[in-house]
Every structure is written in C-alpha cells, then in structure tokens.
Symmetry: C2
Subunit: 314 residues, 2 copies
C-alpha cells in the first residue's frame, strides 16, 4: 500500500472510531450524528498520522481522533461565540438547536477527547494536549479584544493566530512524533513546521474572508461583520489617512456584505497584498523546518501540506 492510501485508510478509521462511540441518549446521539455527518478535511488528524507514520502502534488512530474531537469541540464553541449560523456548509449546532446545546455538546466532545487521551495513557501527550486546549481558549479570549479594536498590534494578531490555530497543528505533529517514539530533532522539526503551517493556515483563512463569495463557495466578510480586526483590515488601517481610517472604522460590525468600493479601498491600502506577504513568510518558515526532516516521505508530505495551505482558494 502506498503512503497516501495508507494515511487515507487511517483517516477512515479515525472517522469510524469517532462515529461509533457516543451516548445512547436521544438528544446526544442526534447532535453527535449531525455534527459528524459531514467529514471535514481533517488536516490536523492527517498531520498527526503523518508524523506518526513510522510506528505500527494502533493507538495513533485514537490519538488522531482526539485531535479531531478537540478541533470539533472548539469549532462548536466558536460558532456559539460568533453566533455563526453555518459551519462547513450546513447550519451550525446553535442554529439548528440552541446556544445551550452548542455549549454542552462542545463540553461533551471535549471530555470525550480526554477520555481517549487517558486511555492512550502517555503522560507527555496528555500534558501537551491539556496545555494546547488551554492555549486555544486563551487565543479565543484574546481575540475578543480584537473586536472593534482598530488599535490592536500585529504581535497580538500573531499571538491569536498561533494560539487559536497554530497551537493545535503544532500539538498534532508533536504528539504524533511522541507516539511514534521519534527522536528529539525529528520532534522539534515537525512541531515547528506544523506550528508555522497552522499560523499560515489561519492567515489564509483571514484572507479568504475578504474574497469573492461565489469563488470560494462559502459566506465571506464574516470577520468584518463581527467587528473582528484581522490581518487584511489591520494592514489597510495602518496605511490609511484620517478620512480612510474613518471609512474603515465604519465598516467594522456592518450587517451587510462589503460593497466593491469597500473592498477596493482595502485593496488599495495594501491590506490584501501585505496579508499575502505575511502568509508567504510563514510558508517559508514551515518549509525551512520541513527540509530539516530527514525522512524523505514525511518531509515531502509536510511540504505538500504547507503548499496546499498557502495556495488553497477555499
């Protein structure tokens, strides 16, 4: 079996494990089935299966499932936090049910992940993922400060991207390496590569939110509608004169989609260009670390993941 087939097959095992195991209570099974009906890209689980690909230890399927469960729980809580009506093209939990259901099924899934983690029973992995979960919550909390805050610093935006997204990418790669008993250098290189890849992934996410809805097939301008200052807005605002700053400020929290003249303003102030440049910077960093990975298969896969993250258009 070639490597790609092997990892795809393992990803199916992850899906099967997640879908198999939930409470028989009606409300819970209904929610659970709805949430895991659509299979996301599972890029985090894939990362974990890539860095653990040299072990035959079956526990890596459980570990990759933990990564996916943690990720899913944060998405569900995010949708409550942002009051998002949709997720992955279907209605969000808080939209079909209520905020209460979103909060509680998120807690249910978080704790399910910890149950699996305890089963795996590796203290280093437990430590890494407990601290990761805490960092993600921190990142999301700090992001609340970015709402309607035109004075947010670039450093704060980078911290948010790392904590809310880069951190779980990093932990997925690192715990994969730990379960496969890889050496320190390998562990360090895949972790740093994944961390930068995750930040890159988030920057592109912020960028795609300023693109043409028809092209990417999902709602756009969500961040600016929520009043959330992300990189494109940040860079434009920095380059703006007083009159332009006023125009930009008025866009934060608007209930409508941006008009083309608004988007033109952001483009002319280099918000899009500078964000792309930042993404490229993180792509270079990710590749740098990937190239230090001695195993050629894993190196290649990490580079592919970084390239995909940079070039994705949805």
């Amino acid at each position: 079996m070639n490597r790609n087939t092997k990892i795809s097959k393992e990803l199916r095992s992850v899906e099967a494990l997640i879908k198999r195991d939930f409470s028989k209570e009606n409300t819970i099974s209904g929610l659970y089935k709805y949430i895991f009906k659509s299979n996301g890209k599972k890029i985090r689980a894939k990362l974990c299966l890539t860095t653990s690909s040299r072990t035959k230890n079956k526990e890596k399927i459980k570990l990759a499932s933990v990564i996916e469960l943690l990720h899913t729980a944060t998405l569900i809580h995010d949708d409550v936090v942002d009051e998002s009506p949709t997720r992955r093209g279907i209605r969000s939990v808080n939209n079909v049910w209520t905020n209460a259901h979103g909060v509680l099924i998120g807690d249910y899934i978080y704790s399910k992940a910890f149950i699996y983690l305890v089963d795996i029973g590796n203290k280093k992995i437990l430590k890494e993922l407990a601290s990761t979960t805490n960092d993600i919550a921190q990142g999301e909390l700090v992001q609340l400060d970015a709402i309607n805050n035109v004075n947010i610093t670039l450093n704060k935006l980078k911290k948010i991207s790392y904590f809310k997204t880069g951190r779980l990418f990093e932990a997925a790669a690192k715990t994969g390496a730990i379960i496969a008993n890889e050496n320190k250098a390998f562990n360090y290189n895949v972790s740093e590569c994944a961390k930068n890849l995750g930040i890159l992934f988030q920057i592109i996410d912020d960028l795609l939110d300023y693109s043409d809805s028809k092209k990417i097939g999902k709602p756009v301008f969500q961040d600016i509608k929520e009043g959330k200052v992300t990189y494109p807005f940040f860079y434009s605002y920095k380059n703006a004169n007083t009159r332009e700053k006023k125009r930009l400020k008025d866009l934060l929290g608007v209930s409508r989609d941006l008009k083309s003249k608004d988007l033109e303003l952001i483009k002319s102030l280099e918000g899009i260009k500078k964000t792309k440049q930042l993404a490229e910077k993180y792509h270079i960093k990710a590749i740098e670390y990937a190239k230090k990975i001695k195993n050629l298969d894993i190196r290649k896969e990490m580079i592919e993941l970084a390239d995909t993250a940079l070039n994705r258009d949805k």
Copy 2:
C-alpha cells in the same frame, strides 16, 4: 491542630492555589479574578479533603483544586445555558461580559483543571475525572429534554440529578480516597455515600427554588421560569386532575414569580412534600454508607455533610 481546623486550612490553600495561577492577559485575568473573588462553600473540595485526610501527600490540595475548577467551569457554562443573570449573589460572567466570554473562560478553566490533573499524574484519578466531566455534560444535555416536558419520567429526573450533581460529589470522594491510597471498601463506601449526598444536594436545590425568596436570600422560581420540570413540579403534575394539569402547564416558562395561589396548588398536590420525602430517602442512603466507614472521624464528617445537605435552608 484539630481536624476541622486542618481541613479549613487546606481549603484556604486550595483557594490560594486557584487564585495564584492564571494568564497575564488582561481579559483573562480580569475574568478570572472576578470569578474567584467570592469564595463559595466548596463542599466538593471539602469532600475530597475529607476522604483524603489520612494522607500527608501534598498533591491532595491540587486535586481538591481540580474538583473546584471543574465545578466552577460547569457553573459558568450553566449560566450561559440558562441565561442566568446572577451567580452566588453577584452578576454572572455572561451578564457582566457576554455569552462568548462565559463559554471561553469556562473552557479555559476546564483545561486548567486538566493541566493540574496531568501534573498529579495518577491514571485512575485522570480516568475518573475525565469520565465525570463527560457525565456532567451528558446530564446537562439530558436536562434540556426536561424543558417544557411534562411527560418526563422520575427515572430521567434521577439520572439528571446524578449526572449533573451526584457524579462530581462521587468523584471528589473517590479520587480523594485514591490519592490517599485507601482500601477498596473505604473507597466504595465514601463514593456511594458522596453520590447519594450529591443527589440529595440537588433535590434540596430543586426544592429551595420553590421557597420564599426573602427566606433564602436568592432568586427563586428560576426552574419553572425556564420551563424546567424538576421534582416539585413533577410530583404535583402526577397528582393533578385535567384542570390542574392545565394550570400547571401554563406556569412553565412564565416570566413572573409564582403567585401564592400557584404555590398553594403545587403544595396541595404534594409536590413539596413528595420532594422532601425523596430527599430523605437519599439522606438515609448516604447515612447508610457513611456508617460503613470504619474511620470514625471521616464517618462523622460524612454524616455531618449529609445532615447539612438535607437541612440547609439556602
């Protein structure tokens, strides 16, 4: 030092540990300080310190802190779920800040508890508390089915009381016994005692919600206002004729406090009396198991806790 002084001193150490350790990010430290400003009763931490009282292992302070952190996280999420404006006599997090802050600081505190748990590094304790957290979320989810549901069964109500409250009492006592390396019989007796004590605690909570607000010094009729069917309503409804059933149904989800004639109806249909009888049943069970505990000090404290839970009027 006598035992009471010792446990009180340990509870101060729990408070100190919790208050000492949090992120330096402004938003987070502000939330954290607000949440832990008032010192609750800490009955769950006390339970844990009681069953672990025969060990000198300093980790029990951390364990009791974990119990308190988990409890606090569930309260904060509960307040989002129930849209409660107050908690412990002060405004709730979701009221001072927003639902988003409540969800995220709850996640932050949950994961902080898991970080401490991993530090303690006892697999049995990890397993017990991961499964407890999952059960609490299940209990809260099942409780959503009790909203505006006059056909809920007594068994379902008991399951809710166990999962959302009894379970953490049980785990507090059990993990205390584990960390103190107590024998199997001790472990079983304190766990069963605490489980019944926790259910009793919840039943009294449901009962107090149907009492005179001036007497208990906190808002009452919250459950019925939220449309939540709890024991007093359940028993009254069961005894009601068609006309009374209609009157009771109309009370679910009212926005005002109950009038005295409404409360009279519930009383005359024995909702209060039967709930008290149920509480007494669980009190007897808790005492039964307490009496099997050989250590006389711990036995006495468990009996005192059960008596306090039954007789509290606020």
